[in-house]
Every structure is written in C-alpha cells, then in structure tokens.
C-alpha cells in the first residue's frame, strides 16, 4: 500500500510534508476500502441471492425475499409446514448439502491429520539439518504446486484403477478409485507442500538444544515432544493445519477425477449447481462453503497476528 503513496522528498517544507502525509493517508484508506469491497461484495451478493425472490434488473437490492432455495436443498420445510417436527424429519433424512458438508469436513480433518503426521518429520529434517541433496528434496516437495493437478491426477487415477483390479484378482477389495479413501489420499498431494514448507519455516527458527537440555535433565523422547517441542511449534502447527484443511476443503478437480462422481463433497455439489444456473441455490451452497473457512480464520486470527513463531512459517511460503 505504501508503494502507491507519493514519497515526499527531504527538502520540502513542513506544510508540503503534511499535505504529502494526508494524501498518503487517503490513498492508504482508499486501498484498504477497495480491498475490503473486493472481498466482501461477493459475499453480500451471495446473501441477497440466497434470500431473494425474483431479483431482476434494475432492482439494486431485492424487493421480495424468500427461502425457496433453502427449501429446494431440503434444508427448510416448505412454507406453512415449518414445524419443529417437520424440521427434524427433514434433517433426519440428511439433506444432500449436509452430507456433502459433513464429508468435506471429514476428508479435510483426516487429510490435515495425516499431512501433519507425514510433514512434521520432513519439515524438521529440512528446517534443522543440512544434508546432501536438500535443495532437490525441497524442490520435489513444492512440485505439486507447479505441476497442473490434472496431469498427476489422471496418472494417479489410472494407477489406482490398476491396483484395485490387481488386488481384486487376489481377492482383496481395495477400491481406491471412486472411494473416500482414494480421494483423501489424492488430496494429500496438493496439501503436502503447504504443510512441509510452513513447518520447515518453524523449525528453521527452532532451537533443538532445548530438547537436549530436557533430555539431560532426565526426560525421555515422548516427554520431550510434549513438554518442549510441541509447545514451541504449536502456532506453526496451527497455521500448517489451517492450510492443509483449506486446500483439501477447496479441491474440486481431484475429488471429481478420483472420486469418479461417487464421492460428493461440497465443491462437487456447488459445481453441479453452478451448471444448473439457479443463482439462489448456488448462493446458498456458496454460503455453506464459505462458512467454515471464515469461522476458522476468525479463530486463527489470534495466531496469525502478533509476533508468534507462526509468522516464521509464513516467511518461507
């Protein structure tokens, strides 16, 4: 933002300096306002769309409101039948949007957990030690962010199918292709770079002598992890987990290809709704899609601001 502000030269008078400062301030706030608008406007549009009834040009905001889209998604009983019993009956049948939300959350949680379990040792090695071929390993880890997802996911899909068939012949039903397990595995591919890079940044600022000190005082490896390592890397773990979850949460292509249309996560529902062209339904699904991300960010803001070691993680990404 400061780049856009005019820089006052050193020999101007104090009055000119004040004007310069004022102009800089205005530009600063305009930039902030613009950025906020860019982020908030679409969400406002979703809100209008989700609750509007026949919202046409040239109405600036909708004249009539309704919950039609919510009814269409089986989230709310039709008008006139909105009793508690009907609500419960409807939700007991688990609306598609709810099951998709639940599936997305589950896959996201599992992928986050596994990615941290795999990423933590790798990040520690990259952050703390120097070894031959380290640059190559680092490059390999970020390749998923460079290679187009369609390239590796098609290859993976073919291999998943091949393994499934081979193992089915041997009497073992693996079924990676078209299954939730297969989708979770393939989500790990784009997730791992974020996790490893974030955590290796944390370990780059980490003093392993603390572990040696605890050991010297009589702590075993497990105590050391929970007493020393874990508290030190917790903010970084939080950020890495956040990345992992959000990257998994927003996967469409990988879920579509590997899930073969049988694993219906929230993005799958959203994309098919987008094809149908019903703006109200799209808006409702979008709101559901955004909600967890916003919630997590609100919780995380405590960790993302301030001078916690998590910021060290951002430095490397």
């Amino acid at each position: 933002m400061s780049d856009a502000a005019p820089t006052a030269s050193t020999n101007v008078s104090a009055r000119d300096g004040n004007v310069g400062a004022a102009v800089r301030k205005v530009i600063f706030y305009l930039t902030i306002a613009f950025m906020c608008l860019m982020l908030v406007l679409p969400v406002i549009a979703f809100f209008f769309n989700a609750f509007a009834f026949r919202w046409f040009y040239p109405q600036f905001i909708p004249k009539e409101w309704s919950l039609q889209a919510w009814e269409r998604l089986d989230l709310i009983p039709p008008e006139g039948e909105r009793t508690l019993a009907n609500f419960i009956a409807l939700w007991l049948e688990v609306p598609d949007a709810v099951s998709a939300l639940w599936l997305s959350l589950s896959i996201g949680a599992v992928v986050t957990g596994i990615s941290i379990l795999i990423g933590l040792p790798a990040a520690r090695a990259l952050g703390l030690y120097r070894f031959r071929g380290k640059r190559i390993v680092e490059f390999m880890i970020i390749t998923p962010t460079i290679v187009p997802p369609i390239a590796f996911s098609l290859g993976l899909n073919i291999n998943f199918i091949r393994w499934d068939l081979a193992l089915a012949d041997a009497g073992i039903p693996l079924d990676l292709a078209g299954s939730v397990v297969g989708v979770a595995i393939v989500h790990l591919v784009p997730v791992m770079p974020y996790v490893v890079l974030t955590l290796s940044g944390v370990f780059a600022n980490y003093n392993a002598d603390f572990e040696a000190q605890a050991r010297s005082l009589g702590a075993g490896p497990i105590r050391i992890f929970f007493d020393v390592t874990f508290p030190a890397i917790l903010p970084g773990l939080f950020v890495a987990g956040l990345f992992a979850f959000l990257v998994s949460w927003s996967q469409y292509l990988l879920t579509f290809l590997i899930g073969q249309g049988r694993v219906i996560t929230l993005p799958m529902l959203l994309f098919s709704a987008a094809g149908s062209g019903n703006n109200a339904v799209i808006a409702v699904l979008s709101l559901i899609f955004i909600a967890p991300a916003v919630l997590i960010l609100l919780v995380a803001s405590r960790y993302l601001s301030g001078d916690s070691s998590a910021v060290g993680g951002f430095g490397r990404v």
């Binding site: 003093n207 002598d209 603390f210 040696a212 000190q213 605890a214 050991r215 010297s216 005082l217 009589g218 702590a219 075993g220 105590r223 007493d227 020393v228 508290p231 030190a232």
Partner: protein, 347 residues
C-alpha cells in the same frame, strides 16, 4: 562425588576428514572444577556433549567412578548440562523450570516445591517461583539454569561457557556463586570455554585442547609459568619468544645469552618470558639486554612497552611510573630474572 575418566576418546564427524576429538585421555578428580579450554572448533563442546550422552563417541570410553557409562542414555546418566544461552523453557514458570528434572524423577509435588525453593535460595533468587523466564535478566536466567541442573544432584555437572554471556561485574558474581555452590555440594564439574581468563578464574585444573588433542592438563598457574609449547604460551598471552640453543645452565638466543635456573625440555629451542616478568634493570645486574623504546602505551593500571633489541621486539608490562622516566626513542636496559625465564621446545 564422582570421578570422571576419559579414555582414548575420539569423535569423527562424517563430513570432516580430521577428527573433532582425537584420542583424548583425562582424569577428573571427584569434586573438582575443571575447564576444557580451547579456541572455537577445538572439540571441547563435542567432548562435553559426549560426556552428557548427547553425542556418541566414535571410539574410546567414558567412566564415572571406574564404570563405563556409554551404554546409559543421557536421561539416566546423571550428567546434567547447562547450555550457554540458559535455555529456560519459555512456557514454564521458574519453579516449573527448576523442578523439571525432579518431576522427571517422579518426585512428589510437595517435595519438589521444597527443593525448588531451597535451590532458588542457594542461587540467590528466593521467591522467584512464579515468574516467567522472559521477566528475568540474563544473569538471573543463568542462575535459574544452574539451579535447574543442581537440583537433581547430578553426578557430573557440565557447564557450557558459564560466564561468557555476562557483563564484567556479573562475571565475578557468577564465578563466586559457581565456586561456592560447587564446593558446598561437592559436585564434579566440567566446563567448556574459549576464554583463558574464564578458565583461570574458575577452574582448579585446565585441560587445554587444540585441534581435538589434549595439549596440557594442569593447574591454571602452570599455563603461565610452565607452558609446554609456544602455542600454549601464546594462547595464555605470551608474546616474547626468542629462538636459540641451550647450553649448560644458559640459553643463547637471538638477543643474547641468559642464565636460566629452571629445567626446560631436552629439545629446548625457544626462550620465553612473560611481559609482566621483565624488569627495568638497575646497575650491576646480570641477564640484561639494552634496547630502544619503540612505543609505550598507558593502559590504566600499568604501561605496555615495546622495546627493540637487535631488531627483535621485547614486550614489557611495567609500572605506570616508567612513563615519567622514559620517552619514546630512549635507550632502556631490561633485566630477565633467571627464575622467570622458561624454555620451550623448538618447533
């Protein structure tokens, strides 16, 4: 009270050709305070980490009271290390830090509290239990780190550069504290330092290490009076070295012949005298040389002179008075007391 013995200890790192520690033999008496001294990268910290169990030796053995401890993991070895930068656990209070080792030994809560309070008293930080490490000054953190190590009553206490992070006035306070507590508790203590002054003021004995090899293991004074090589003498501030040959009770050097009373090595080839041992000569003395004052610098408590004798420089530390009597370029006669001259092996 534990006797520490190091036998043929070596450590070779994969990435380096030269061993970091090379065939080290050392006997550290129980209850003593010993310095491992050497320039950075000489292998002293590697040695200490091997004693603590944080590094595995390539060859050799380490014995506590004649029993090898190499197979005992560091957390049960009883050799506790205090790192140079304190390393207090930032998420714990001072009491939790000091009590950490006791908690690992599954001691009862009340007993931990009692011992922690007692130990904080001993390091002169009573009532600091509930503070956080970052609320303490560097010197206070150092003392907490010391208390944290001492509270578990280690067999061997290992200190990494215990005085080097401290201001001048704190250094003496910490030195006295370490000496007092060490003697009071009788814990065999080994510390590592690159600073010869730190080693001299603190240690009973100094093991001087260059390039992973033990050079000399002696009382501090011996390194000033009887260094065993020119390099050792230079490390302890020796600057006057004159090559020559020994003959009978004398030594003929590049700046003249001097009589020497102390026995030197068989292959003696260098005569040395500490600058503070050189005297300004009065008439009728032997072992004198004359030269021209090249420079003189007043350094507060005394004066440093550089005197040129036959193209060789003799460094002298003298009373500040000398500056009133002599000026730059003046002729001066110096006297080398027989019992202060020391012969080093030829190189």
């Amino acid at each position: 009270m534990t006797h520490l013995a190091i036998r043929g200890l070596s450590k070779v790192y994969a990435a380096q050709a030269a061993p970091a520690v090379d065939d080290l033999d050392l006997d550290i008496e129980s209850g003593s305070l010993t310095a491992l001294l050497g320039p950075s990268g000489c292998g002293k910290t590697t040695t200490m980490k091997m004693i603590a169990g944080l590094l595995k030796p390539t060859t050799g053995d380490i014995l506590f009271d004649e029993r090898s401890i190499l197979s005992i993991p560091p957390e049960r070895r009883g050799a506790v290390m205090v790192f140079q930068n304190h390393l207090l656990f930032p998420y714990m209070s001072i009491a939790q830090n000091v009590g950490y080792g006791l908690k690992m030994r599954r001691m009862e809560r009340a007993e931990i509290d009692r011992q922690v309070a007692e130990m904080l008293e001993l390091v002169r930080l009573p009532g600091m239990e509930d503070r956080r490490p970052k609320e303490l000054s560097g010197g206070q953190q150092q003392r907490v780190a010391l208390a944290r190590a001492l509270v578990v009553r280690p067999k061997i206490l290992l200190l990494d550069e215990p005085l080097s992070n401290l201001d001048a006035h704190l250094r003496f306070e910490m030195r006295d504290l370490i000496r007092d507590i060490q003697q009071q508790m009788g814990i065999t203590t080994v510390f590592v330092t690159h600073d010869q002054e730190e080693a001299v003021v603190l240690a009973d004995k100094i093991a001087l290490i260059f390039d992973g090899r033990l050079q000399q293991y002696d009382k501090p004074l011996a390194f000033y009076e009887q260094p065993s090589s020119r390099r050792i003498a230079a490390f302890f501030g020796g600057v006057n070295f004159f090559t020559g040959t020994q003959d009978g009770d004398g030594f003929t050097s590049t700046i003249g012949r001097f009589s020497v009373t102390r026995d030197g090595p068989a292959d003696g080839g260098i005569l040395t005298i500490r600058p503070e041992d050189v005297r300004l000569s009065e008439d009728g003395e032997t072992n004198t040389v004359s030269g021209t004052i090249d420079s003189q610098v007043y350094v507060g408590t005394h004066a440093r002179l550089r005197v040129t004798v036959d193209d060789h420089t003799v460094n002298v530390v003298a009373d500040a008075d000398v500056m009133k009597r002599y000026g730059q370029g003046d002729r001066i006669t110096l006297q080398f007391p027989e019992n202060k001259l020391w012969i080093l092996p030829a190189e």
